[in-house]
């Protein structure tokens, strides 16, 4: 049986993201971790067919929960929900570019903080000043994670040969016609 060339790329990206998420500390101003695993999950959600995208999202969610001390379905269900939205947005405008990925992961990171707070809520008020500070920091930290995640995954895809430049024999892109 021939091994799918996507498999080592997916495994390497997930492992690297898990290590990075574990090792990169939260900023001193707020307890928000950079969501590298979410970024990797969203990259593959945008660039791969459904079965592969869902598999990556399942493992991205499971690893986030396993390494973060959260219930094992918390981030997993969140990423599944996000996937539906991402697929809808992809029909309209969303692409797997570094710029759009950075913005996407930044926004998703903010929602993820709220989701996790709702899921792992234990006593006290649901939303406090601390939560607001965390939300405020989730955007830039998530954008940083998105930039790194999309850039590294794109690079891994190109290096592995999973994504090839368009050949001239395939025709001319519409984007190229205005030059």
């Amino acid at each position: 049986m021939r091994l799918d060339p996507n498999l080592p790329v997916v495994a390497a990206c997930l492992f690297a993201a898990a290590c990075a998420q574990e090792l990169v500390p939260a900023p001193p101003q707020a307890p928000v971790k950079a969501v590298f695993l979410t970024a990797v999950g969203l990259y593959f959600a945008l660039t791969r067919p459904v079965a592969m995208a869902l598999t990556v999202l399942v493992w991205a969610g499971a690893l986030t929960d396993a390494l973060g001390g959260l219930p094992l379905a918390c981030t997993l269900t969140f990423l599944m929900t996000v996937y539906v939205g991402v697929r809808l947005l992809q029909r309209a405008f969303l692409e797997a570019t570094v710029f759009q990925g950075t913005l996407l992961v930044g926004c998703v990171s903010v929602v993820q903080v709220v989701w996790t707070r709702l899921w792992a809520h234990a006593g006290g008020p649901l939303f406090s000043w601390e939560t607001l500070v965390r939300l405020e920091w989730a955007l830039p930290v998530g954008m940083a994670a998105g930039f790194v995640g999309f850039a590294v995954c794109g690079l891994a895809d190109r290096l592995s040969g999973n994504v090839r430049p368009v050949k001239e024999s395939d025709g001319v892109l519409w984007a190229e016609t205005n030059r």
Partner: protein, 283 residues
């Protein structure tokens, strides 16, 4: 096999593994990341320390002198402690008394704090079941209690901090006063700051812990030391947990509730000591 079909099977297998073997998945994930976390520690402790020493050699020299003086002082203290230890052993033999905390403390480096939302709730340590760490074992630093082990893999363990809202520790107040007797209570993790707390300047700090079910008729003075009572069967008796800030009657009027600041600086943990081998937590 068609490759898209392979991914469908992989997805089904993944979901199956998560459904039926979630604790195992958690262990495997932590063990997979452990070498990188350990490598970072090793790098910090070897390369990082040398690099810092290179750039601040004079400061290191002064520090070495200070440490040499400390070592000499501790040798004197140890000598007197040996004599005291021998006397305690002799008295225990007379009373046929067994030490309350058999086992030994092992030092474990802090690999990382909890993930996306659990920053204050847990830390991961670089010692696991292979080193004798068991679920429920207490974790301390010289300043005071840190928490207890909730999850163990072969090389790592998760410690639930005493600041976790789910944490409960049986405590008592140290020397509450003449004729008062022992004042005991249960220490709850701080959790979220209450909405009516005006101290908005206190960001990214550990909330005070809540010591509940204290004797209603005794008003403990501020700065009273709070120690473990040993009744919870997790922590041995007499470990410092924190210091009392203020107390008030609970809303039902039946008991008193106090706020307690942790003695250990939970924001700057580097090395934590874990009790191994037959402590009070052992079944």
């Amino acid at each position: 096999m068609k490759q898209s079909k392979m991914w469908v099977w992989l997805l089904v297998l993944s979901l199956g593994a998560l459904l039926f073997a979630s604790p195992r998945v958690r262990d495997v994930a932590q063990e997979a990341v452990y070498p990188s976390a350990n490598a970072r520690l090793w790098f910090e402790r070897t390369v990082g320390v040398r690099a810092r020493a290179f750039f601040s050699r004079a400061r290191q020299g002064a520090r070495n002198d200070q440490l040499a003086r400390d070592v000499a002082r501790l040798q004197v203290v140890e000598a007197s402690a040996d004599a005291l230890g021998a006397e305690v052993d002799r008295l225990r033999a007379i009373l046929d008394f067994k030490p309350s905390v058999p086992g030994q403390w092992i030092a474990a480096p802090v690999l990382s704090r909890g993930g996306t939302s659990a920053v204050w709730q847990s830390v991961r340590l670089g010692k696991g079941s292979l080193q004798g760490v068991a679920k429920g074992a207490p974790a301390i630093i010289p300043d005071g209690v840190v928490g207890r082990v909730t999850d163990v893999s072969p090389h790592t363990c998760e410690v639930m901090l005493i600041s976790d809202p789910n944490s409960r520790v049986a405590c008592e107040l140290e020397t509450p006063g003449e004729g008062v007797g022992t004042v005991r209570g249960i220490l709850f993790g701080g959790g979220s700051r209450s909405a009516d707390d005006p101290h908005l300047t206190l960001l990214y700090v550990v909330d005070p812990l809540r010591l509940r079910y204290l004797d209603r008729d005794f008003t403990p003075p501020p700065r009273t030391r709070v120690v473990t009572s040993g009744l919870g069967l997790t922590f041995p008796k007499g470990l410092t947990i924190g210091y009392l800030l203020e107390s008030k009657l609970e809303s039902n009027g039946l008991s008193r509730e106090a706020s307690v600041v942790p003695a250990a600086d939970l924001t700057a943990l580097e090395t934590v000591f874990v009790l191994t081998g037959g402590g009070p937590h052992a079944p």
